[in-house]
């Protein structure tokens, strides 16, 4: 009478699941990166839409461009980001203008600064990692961008 090391379907699936977990698993660095995403969450406000992106093919072409233009919108507020990787800076324009409080969050932490009276700002960037901006506009509205990878 032939016997098989896994006679029941449940045993087969359990063994297969264990095998697949060994050979089809994310790298340790990918898991660690996902765990660190939580730092980017700590922002409250209206989530904006990414309305324009100079690098629509971001995932496929990542790392080949010298700069990046992004525009975020939500209701009446707008944030334009112009990243210059060679210079290591981001210039930005807020609409509506007026002095606004800007918070930038990356997986490394948060930084806070103000725009000028015309809604313009200049921000150093350390690298091309994940970024998220939150702006408290002069009228009190808070708008938050989705997380983007520069």
């Amino acid at each position: 009478m032939p016997t098989h090391p896994f006679d029941s379907d449940d045993d087969v699936l359990a063994l297969l699941g264990d095998v697949l977990d060994s050979i089809e698993a994310p790298s340790a660095s990918a898991v660690e990166g996902a765990e660190q995403l939580f730092a980017l969450r700590q922002l409250d406000g209206d989530l904006m839409d990414l309305a324009a992106d100079s690098n629509e093919t971001s995932l496929a072409q990542r790392g080949t461009e010298a700069g990046r233009l992004l525009r975020f919108e939500s209701g009446g507020c707008q944030i334009e980001i112009d990243a210059h990787f060679g210079d290591g800076v981001v210039t930005g324009q807020l609409t509506p203008g007026g002095v606004s409080a800007i918070t930038t969050v990356t997986s490394a932490g948060a930084s806070r600064f103000d725009s000028d009276a015309l809604g313009r700002f200049l921000q150093p960037i350390a690298g091309r990692g994940l970024h998220r901006w939150s702006v408290r506009f002069a009228d009190g509205r808070i708008c938050v961008t989705p997380i983007v990878r520069l």
Partner: protein, 191 residues
Amino acid sequence: MPGATLTPTELGDLVGRARLGEATAWEALVRGTSSAVYRGLAAFDVAADVRDELYHETYIKLVERLDTIQQPAALPAWLMTTARNQALQYLRKRARLVPVADLPDVGSVFELDEALLDDELRVAVARAFRHLSSACQQLLRLLTATPPLSYAEIAELLDRPIGSLGPQRIRCLKQLRLAPELIAFIDVAPT
């Protein structure tokens, strides 16, 4: 690196605690659902580093939408759907950038790293799995995801009638058991 299987109650608890700002709850959520996300990506013909990127992008979606998750118990299915959509989006972009003739066959099997397996039977199971049809591989990946998916969720992910899953499961497991790689493990008891 699979985490322990999360029950629906545990999923709800972790989602709730993460919403309140508990970073350790988020980390446990990531570890406990990584298998589901990777199962959603494994069927796609992309390089390992891209698969890791897509895995990461899937959790970016989750961290942005954590407050809107209505049914934490359905989170594994949501993650798999999101991962699949991320992969399809990537493949569409790649198709626009790469001449069609340079694209590898879509649906080719996942590159199995047998060096990660530590015994003969597990290596044989991996090889037998690799030789199954892509439809069987897809179904068995979903049936072995942790946390487990319901048949309704699997039917939705595969866009197939729920009634077809049971018979296909039987066929796929039979093919796996009868694969040449595993036949060698059948013992014949003395008569």
